[in-house]
C-alpha cells in the first residue's frame, strides 16, 4: 500500500475541492481501505466525508432525505424507514455484519465495488475492470456469483450492494455536488452496464460527491414491501441473488407492482417488464412466474450460474405470494 494523507473534510465544498485535486473520498472505509491494502486501488490523499452532516429528515413532499454520511445501521433502525420503507431496512440488515453496518455510510455503500475474486487478485488474475484491456478471467473461471443480465464479453461482474436493490425499487434519487455544481439523478440511472469499458461503473464525474439520497413518499406497494436474499450461508455473506418487492391490490387485482433484483447484473436491476405484466392481473403464483419470465427472457447464464435464473423465478414468486397473502 502506498502512503497517503488522511484529512477530515471541513465541509462539502472542501471535500469537493480536494477531490478535484485528486483526493479520494473516505466513508466508513470498509471497502476502500481493503482495496488500497490489496493494491487494487491507489490514493495519495483520503478526505474523510463520514463526519459531515448525517441527518435523516422528511422532505417537503412527504418523502425522506438521507444524508450520504448516515451509517447503514442507523438508517436501518430509523423508525420512519422501518414503518414506511420496510424493504430498505430489511435490505440494509441483510448486508454484511453489525460491525460493518455501524461503519459503512450510505454514500460508500452506493459506490462499493464488485466482489469478483479476480478483480481482487492483483498478482494472479486478468481483469478488465481493474486493468482495462487485460482480459476477464471470470468468463471461463469461477463465475457462480456473476451476472445473468446486462453483462458484456469484457466483464460479467455484479454490483454487490443490498441497499441499492431496495433504493432501485423505491425510485430513489441521488443528490450530487461537484466542481460544476449540484445535480440529482435516479439511482437506476447511476450505475452503468459494463459494455466495452467495465472500469467505468457510474455516471459520477471527477470530484463529484454524493451528498444524499431522497426517497419519494411511499406508495401503497412500498408500504407493503419486503426484501429476500439468497446466499451460500444464512448470514454475513454476499447475495447469490436477492429480490426487493412491493405489491398493491384493489378488489383482487394488482394495481401496483415493484420488483428489483440484486446479484444479477452490474447494477441493481429494476424489473420494469415484470412490473408492467402484473398490472391488472389477479395475484396468483402463475401470474408472478409469467411476469418474471418476461423479465428474464434475455438472461444469459455463464458456465457456473444458470441456477440463478430458476432461483430468481422462485424467489420472486415466493416473495410476491407472501406479500399478496399479507394483503388478505
Amino acid at each position: 500500500m502506498r502512503t497517503f494523507e488522511y484529512i477530515r473534510a471541513a465541509d462539502r465544498a472542501d471535500a469537493v475541492a480536494r477531490a478535484r485535486r485528486g483526493a479520494r473520498f473516505l466513508g466508513g472505509g470498509t471497502n476502500i481501505v481493503d482495496l488500497l491494502r490489496q493494491n487494487v486501488e491507489q490514493a495519495s490523499e483520503l478526505v474523510d466525508v463520514s463526519r459531515l452532516d448525517g441527518a435523516i429528515r422528511q422532505s417537503d413532499g412527504g418523502g425522506l432525505l438521507i444524508d450520504a454520511s448516515v451509517r447503514n445501521a442507523a438508517l436501518a433502525a430509523h423508525p420512519l424507514v422501518r414503518r414506511r420503507y420496510p424493504v430498505l431496512s430489511r435490505a440494509l440488515l441483510a448486508g454484511a455484519s453489525a460491525q460493518i453496518r455501524n461503519m459503512a455510510t450510505v454514500g460508500g455503500n452506493i459506490l462499493q465495488r464488485t466482489r469478483c475474486m479476480y478483480f481482487y487478485d492483483v498478482e494472479g488474475a486478468r481483469c478488465n475492470k481493474r486493468q482495462p484491456g487485460t482480459g476477464c478471467d471470470a468468463l471461463d473461471g469461477f463465475n457462480r456469483y456473476h451476472a445473468i443480465l446486462g453483462a458484456s464479453d469484457q466483464c460479467v461482474a455484479t454490483h454487490p450492494s443490498d441497499m441499492c436493490v431496495a433504493l432501485a425499487m423505491l425510485d430513489a434519487l441521488i443528490h450530487l455536488s461537484g466542481p460544476d455544481g449540484k445535480r440529482s439523478i435516479r439511482l437506476t440511472d447511476f450505475h452503468v452496464l459494463p459494455n466495452a469499458s467495465p472500469h467505468i461503473e457510474t455516471v459520477l464525474k471527477p470530484g463529484e460527491l454524493i451528498t444524499g439520497v431522497e426517497l419519494p413518499p411511499p406508495s401503497d406497494a412500498v408500504t407493503h414491501s419486503e426484501y429476500r436474499k439468497v446466499r451460500d450461508r444464512s448470514s454475513y455473506a454476499f447475495a447469490l441473488i436477492s429480490v426487493a418487492g412491493g405489491l398493491a391490490l384493489t378488489d383482487g387485482r394488482v394495481t401496483e407492482a415493484r420488483i428489483a433484483l440484486g446479484g444479477v447484473a452490474a447494477r441493481p436491476w429494476r424489473a420494469a417488464r415484470a412490473e408492467a405484466a402484473l398490472i391488472g392481473v389477479a395475484p396468483t403464483e402463475e401470474a408472478f412466474l409469467a411476469a418474471i419470465r418476461e423479465e428474464l427472457a434475455d438472461a444469459q447464464p455463464l458456465s457456473g450460474n444458470a441456477f440463478k435464473i430458476v432461483l430468481v423465478e422462485r424467489t420472486v414468486v415466493a416473495l410476491l405470494a407472501a406479500l399478496a397473502g399479507a394483503h388478505q
Binding site: 502512503t3 488522511y6 472505509g29 470498509t30 422501518r82 440488515l93 460493518i100 448470514s235 454475513y236
Partner: protein, 169 residues
C-alpha cells in the same frame, strides 16, 4: 487530537496507513484484540468505538482521532474481577482456542445495547415492532459477524443469554 484507548489518551500514528488494529497490537501492545483475516471477514478484531462495535482492521487509526476506544483489556474491573460476560464465557464453555473470544465479547456487549435500543435485525419478522423479541435466532443473526472456527457457538449464545437475563432483571 488524541485517541482515548481504555481511558488513556494516545497519539495517533504518523503514518495514515496504520489501522486501528495495528495501532492497538503493534504500537500499544494491547494484543487482546486479534487479527484473523485483516479484511473484514471474521470479526476477531471487533472493538467498541464510542460504544459501537466496529472492525478495527478496516478502521484507520486516524479515523478514531477524538474518539473513545474500548478493547477486551478495558472491560474488566480492577484486580482479578472479570466482566460479567467474560465470566459467563468461562461458565458456559463459550470458547475453545480463545482466538475469536475478545471479538465475540466486545461484539456481544454492543449487541446488548442495540437490543435495548430496540434495533431490528434481518430475522425480526415485524421490522417496525420495537423492541424486537430476544430469541436464539435473533442472537445468532446479530452475532453472525463473529466467526468461531472451533465451533463454540452454542456456548457463546448461552453465555450471551445469561448476560441478557442478568442485565434485564
Amino acid at each position: 487530537m488524541t485517541i482515548r484507548v481504555n481511558g488513556t489518551e494516545v497519539s495517533p500514528p504518523d503514518d495514515a496507513r496504520v489501522s486501528l488494529l495495528d495501532l492497538l497490537r503493534e504500537h500499544l501492545h494491547l494484543t487482546g484484540t486479534k487479527k484473523g483475516c485483516d479484511q473484514g471477514a471474521c470479526g476477531a478484531c471487533t472493538v467498541l468505538l464510542d460504544g459501537n462495535r466496529v472492525l478495527s482492521c478496516l478502521t484507520l487509526a486516524a479515523q478514531a482521532e477524538g474518539s473513545d476506544v474500548r478493547t477486551i483489556e478495558g472491560l474488566a474491573g480492577e484486580g482479578d474481577d472479570l466482566h460479567m460476560l467474560q465470566q459467563a464465557f468461562v461458565e458456559y464453555d463459550g470458547l475453545q482456542c480463545g482466538y475469536c473470544t475478545p471479538g465475540q465479547i466486545c461484539s456481544a456487549i454492543a449487541m446488548a445495547d442495540e437490543l435495548r435500543r430496540g434495533d431490528p435485525s434481518y430475522v425480526t419478522r415485524d421490522i417496525a415492532a420495537s423492541p424486537p423479541p430476544v430469541t436464539r435466532a435473533e442472537i445468532r443473526e446479530r452475532m453472525s459477524g463473529n466467526l468461531c472456527r472451533c465451533g463454540a457457538h452454542n456456548g457463546i449464545v448461552e453465555a450471551i443469554e445469561h448476560m441478557l437475563r442478568e442485565t434485564a432483571a
